[in-house]
Each structure stands twice: as structure tokens, then as C-alpha cells.
Symmetry: C2
Subunit: 284 residues, 2 copies
């Protein structure tokens, strides 16, 4: 690793690879950020492809790292895991006025905010799409070949970013994603706050609307537990399924009996998601 803009904050051996945490100054977000990375053993010798993981409300980069059990299969397959934080951070970063969990810190919704005081820092879309991959690919043994996945708010982010940037990613997956944020309480609150009243702007961040209109659609896999407290009201999986059917987009959307919204659900199916992405990430 040739670290210049990245500072290594922590390193732990894991499945014969390296679980790492980095600090850096984000120009796009206008604040200091942390993110986690798992480098598989193969990265000691060559640049490896990467799966970006976008986490859900209230999470940091550490939830997926410690709870999903993804490193085992990533080590086997030779895939790096890039795990960003869920919002800008710092004392001067505006939070929800009431300190609610579903807006502001820990809840950036992967949009570029247009409304103040949020626009100053909340540019998570550009951070994930541009700034972070540039840093990772410049300073870590990670190639430009990448796919994207996430959970809940992060599943929304993965779908939106993958659908809007089909030339940059190989495949998309999501656990329990917020499929239609323009029509659910979490999404409407977030988009109102970050993007304002012009609902036309909201459409660029709605996976169901994007899928229905997409010219080119990457391979997509979605898993949703049917015992999820937030299903269907906040997640609206049916809207994504309807768009998929209308567009004949071929997304593989699965309802999993008995599973909830937690990391026990993610852990149960992360191997399937990694092997799904590996088909595309490891293709020559």
C-alpha cells in the first residue's frame, strides 16, 4: 500500500487477509471520514476486484465488518470489501433538528444534498461514486472492477448508484432495500430535507423509478425477509418487483420466509450475494 491521502487507523488479521480501517480528509464531504476495508490474501500479490457495501440507518463502517461474516467468502474468492460510513461526520456537520435516527448523522441516504445546512457536507452520492473509489484504487491493491451491495438505506444506495452508473459496476445486490423512497416515510422525510420541495429531483434517487426507465440494467439480486418490521411499509419491495416486471429487467428479487431486518439475515445470505457478484467480478 502506498498511503498518501489515507491514514491507516487499524489493522487486524482475519481469514488470512487484513481487516483495515482508514481515516482521510474528504474533499467532497468537506470533513474527515473513516471507512473499513477487507483485503483478501490474494491482494498481497495483485490488485483484486472490490465489492462496495453501503450500510443502513444508524450504522458506521463497523457494523458490516463485525457482524456479517463476509470476510470468509471474500477471502476465498479474492474480493476486497470496501465499507464506507453512512454520512458525513464531525461536530460541524448538521444533524436532524430533533436528533432522530432517520435523518442527518448516520442517515445520509447516499444523495447529493441541495438544501442548506445539509448541502455543505451531505454529498454522499459523489463520495461513493467518485471520491472513495479513486482513493481506494490509487492507494490500495484494489482494481477498478467493482460491484455494489448494501442493506436497507444502503440497499437503496446500492440500487440507485448501480442503476445510474452501469458502466462503473459489474453487478448490484441488496438486502431489505428501501425500494421506493419517494413513497415511504423514511424516504420522503430524507428527500424533503436534503433535496427540498421539487419532487422531480427526488426521482434520481428512487430505485423503482430508475429501474423502470433504465436503458441498461446490470445483474441484480435482492433479498427481503418477510418477518421484517419495516416490510412492506418502508421498503416497498413490491414497487421494485413491479418495475422489474414492467421493464423485464431480470432482477432476482427473493422473499425469504421468517427473516427479519437484522444482521442475522445478512449473515445468512451474504455468501450467496458474494458468489452472485463473483460471477461478474471475476469474469475475464
Amino acid at each position: 500500500m502506498q498511503l498518501q491521502q489515507l491514514t491507516l487507523a487499524n489493522e487486524q488479521r482475519c481469514f488470512a487477509g487484513r481487516q483495515l480501517r482508514f481515516q482521510h480528509r474528504s474533499t467532497v464531504l468537506n470533513c474527515d471520514m473513516q471507512f473499513s476495508v477487507f483485503l483478501p490474501p490474494q491482494a498481497e500479490h495483485e490488485a483484486v476486484p472490490a465489492l462496495y457495501w453501503l450500510s443502513g440507518l444508524t450504522c458506521t463502517d463497523e457494523n458490516f465488518s463485525s457482524k456479517a461474516g463476509a470476510q470468509r467468502v471474500a477471502a476465498e474468492l479474492g474480493i476486497a470489501l470496501i465499507i464506507p460510513d453512512t454520512s458525513p461526520r464531525g461536530d460541524d456537520v448538521a444533524d436532524d433538528p430533533d436528533g432522530a435516527y432517520d435523518f442527518g448523522l448516520g442517515a445520509g441516504f447516499y444523495v447529493n444534498a441541495t438544501q442548506q445546512p445539509y448541502a455543505k457536507h451531505y454529498q454522499m452520492y459523489d463520495y461513493i461514486v467518485d471520491e472513495l473509489p479513486q482513493l481506494v484504487e490509487a492507494e490500495l491493491p484494489v482494481s477498478q472492477t467493482k460491484s455494489i451491495s448494501g442493506h436497507s438505506m444502503g440497499g437503496h444506495g446500492a440500487l440507485v448508484i448501480g442503476l445510474r452508473n452501469s458502466e462503473r459496476y459489474r453487478s448490484i445486490s441488496a438486502f431489505s432495500p428501501i425500494c421506493q423512497p419517494t413513497a415511504c416515510p423514511w424516504g420522503k422525510k430524507a428527500f424533503q430535507g436534503y433535496l427540498g420541495d421539487d419532487q422531480q429531483l427526488w426521482r434520481d434517487y428512487d430505485a423503482s423509478l430508475l429501474l423502470a426507465a433504465a436503458e441498461r440494467v446490470l445483474p441484480i439480486r435482492v433479498d427481503q425477509g418477510d418477518a421484517d418490521n419495516f416490510y412492506p411499509e418502508q421498503l416497498r419491495t413490491d414497487a421494485l418487483q413491479a418495475a422489474n416486471d414492467k421493464r423485464q429487467a431480470g432482477a432476482d428479487i427473493r422473499l425469504q420466509a421468517g427473516y427479519d431486518h437484522s444482521y442475522y439475515f445478512i449473515a445468512s445470505f451474504i455468501e450467496a450475494h458474494l458468489r452472485f457478484h463473483a460471477q461478474y467480478l471475476l469474469a475475464k
Copy 2:
């Protein structure tokens, strides 16, 4: 499940099995307790063998449940995971006078305390050996066939309990265990506080001394990271190795290069430990 003394506090689907949390009144500990259980899918149809997992300092029953990734292989093998708390709990349970992390709450050291004010509640040895298995086997689809494992303080507990009760368990394993508590700072503080000045009593809770003198030794596997902050001073793996050599006990004690004391280490090797125990738990 025919719950009488146990109250189900939480249930989550995980790897097609059930991650459960129970509350109950402990007669032995004289307080209310919680513990976690993973029941594999096979437990829907038959009583399954169990691996007891004893956690380390500061942990509850939830650390192993959420971070070790053990459920995947337990579900495949048909082994229940029984995960107790690390000390008695409650407002009237005496803690370390200075609130230190290494004594009192979260730090029961799996001994039967003889010294007040601790003796009133800190009877963790009897809780793990007798009361908890009786409850589990009476009310859950879990057979009497069991093995025991643990981490750090819990690795000490697993070794001590398994060595002293070779007729009750099939096999023993440990990650980063405190191998010679009579001779390390953590152990000397705990044994002084719980057991008092008579160091003859301490010997019943020292895995290295027990192994050297054991008449019958179960199959044992131990893994220790060589980048562990607490190695060798607190853990004294060499003392266990010396006892193993002297006794020709056949314990498989492995030093793992680059690994630390964290759950990333446990996650990396838990599959190997589960398959080690399965050889004995699933033997007819």
C-alpha cells in the same frame, strides 16, 4: 419447546435455524439471568447435541452470537450453541470496588466464590456445569451430549470445566485462553477476590495445573494468536503446553501467526473448532 422456567425474550431466524434469547431466575446465582441459544434446523425434529460457549471479560451472551459467525456451520452440522452470560447480573450483585473491567460484573471467571460479598451470587461454575444444562435439556430440543469452548476468560472456563468434568463433555476447545490464572495478573486478582488467600483453592480453577494432574483428558484444541496484546503475559499458553507435554495429554495447541485477541480471530477459526467438536458430538 415446553418453556416453564425459561422465558423467551427474543427470536430471530438465522441460517434456517433460530437465534433465541431466554430469561430465567437462577437459583444457583440468586438473580435473574439471560442467555442466548442457536437452534439449528435439525432441532425442529429431534434433540440435538450442544456446544457451550463461554465468553470473555466484559462480554454478555450477545458478543459471540453476533460476531463469531458460528451459526452457519452449527446449522450445517446440527449442533446447538448455548451461550451464557459471563457473570451474575443485577443491581444487588457486588461489582469490582473500582468498577474495573476484569473483576465483578462481566468477569465471573467461572468459579464458585467463597468470599463475601461475592459468594452470594458469583457461583458461575455450578451455573455452567449444573443448572444451565439442566434447564436447557429439560425445556429445549437439546440432548445431554455436549462439548464446551470459549474465549479468553471463557477459554479458561471451558478448559477448567471440561477437565474437571470429563464424564459430562465430549471435547474441549478454547481461543486465547487464560491458561494459568494462578500466575497471571487477571487470574491472581480474580482468585484473590472470589476465593481468598488460600491459594490451595485456586488450583481447582487453573487449567495448566488441572491438565498436568488429570486422570482422563478429553480431546482438546486451543488456538492462540501471536499478535494478541495479552499474549503471553496474561494468557501463559506456554504453561498449558508444558503441562500437555508432561502429561502427554495430546491437546492440539496452535499458535496462529498475525492474529490478535478479537472476534476477527474467533471468526477465522470457529469453523475449525465446530468441526473438531462435531467429530465427538456426532459420534454414535
